[in-house]
């Protein structure tokens, strides 16, 4: 996976599989401190210390469909190669927070990539989950919470054509609004 946004999709998928009802995705780009921080915080079933230690090892996975889980170890290695790292903070029954830090300007740092489509995919694909997205670039911020959208739409599906258009528009307007001018 050559985009940070694909890794975000992958980690968020883990959060959904852990039974989360609320997932917060936060991206902080601090250009003064030359830092890029990605945080995914969920209220899923959480993990004990032993499991946390094991999931960063590429030869451990809880899945039964395939033997090797590589998403987390790859992302950790990518962050460490860019003067950063990964911290996993998890409590059984409470949830998991995964924080990843990169040196923003590092030559080997993969691009953030198509974060718009990662968000659209998660929001439409898992409509039962409340997604809270916060993206900061220095002092500019885009915040999007699916809760009020869900409340207004009621029984109308997130994959209704007009809702797709609305979500796409709102997300791209928010992300473009932070572009460095």
């Amino acid at each position: 996976m050559r985009e940070i946004s694909l890794h975000i999709l992958d980690i968020a998928e883990n959060s959904v599989n852990a039974g989360s009802t609320v997932v917060r995705i936060t991206i902080i780009e601090n250009l003064n401190k030359d830092e890029l921080i990605i945080q995914i915080e969920d209220n899923g079933k959480g993990m004990d210390e032993d499991t946390v230690r094991k999931i960063t090892d590429p030869f451990v996975t809880t899945r039964t469909t395939r033997k090797v889980g590589l998403g987390i170890p790859f992302l950790k290695a990518a962050a460490e190669a860019c003067q950063g790292g990964m911290v996993i903070d998890s409590t059984p029954g409470i949830g998991t927070t995964i924080s990843v830090r990169f040196q923003h300007s590092h030559i080997d740092r993969m691009p953030l990539g198509d974060i718009n489509n990662t968000l659209l995919s998660l929001i439409v694909g898992y409509p039962e989950v409340r997604w809270i997205y916060t993206h900061q670039v220095d002092s500019r911020e885009f915040h999007f919470d699916t809760e009020p959208v869900r409340e207004i739409l009621g029984e109308i599906s997130f994959s209704d054509p007009d809702v797709i258009k609305y979500l796409k528009g709102t997300i791209s307007q928010g992300i473009n609004g932070m572009a460095v001018r």
């Binding site: 959904v16 489509n117 994959s159």
Partner: protein
């Protein structure tokens, strides 16, 4: 950005969608599922999902429920797309690029013909 205005837009979308639903209610919803495990994502499942959502938006198709799922154990066939249409059995498609996804959306979801050459045994 004017968040209040955009939530007002959403209320309008809801009313219009409810009106449309009354007309199409008898036909029932079609379910489209995209595999989004690590294997699927690495094989390009996000682009498959994008192609499906773009198709629904472009053709203005109501009554389609698109969801994601994790790894279903057929990693070598990813990206995987499944279609459940009315009372019919679930059909699983393998190696679904954006282009194949559009083909399946048109032939299977809109016209009701299974795209045999892309079906995989499950």
């Amino acid at each position: 950005m004017n968040a209040i205005k955009s939530l007002e837009d959403l209320k309008k979308i809801r009313e219009e969608a409810l009106a449309k639903r009354k007309i199409t209610e008898t036909s029932g919803a079609t379910q489209v599922i995209v595999g989004m495990g690590t294997c699927g994502i690495a094989a390009g499942a996000r682009e498959t999902m994008k192609a499906i959502l773009d198709f629904i938006e472009e053709k203005n198709l109501p009554n389609i429920i698109v969801t994601q799922t994790g790894c279903i154990g057929l990693c070598e066939q990813e990206p995987i797309m499944q279609v459940v249409s009315g009372e019919q059995q679930k059909v699983t498609y393998g190696k679904v690029s954006g282009e194949v996804a559009r083909k399946v959306m048109q032939a299977h979801v809109v016209e009701g013909h299974v795209v045999e050459e892309n079906v995989i045994p499950v």
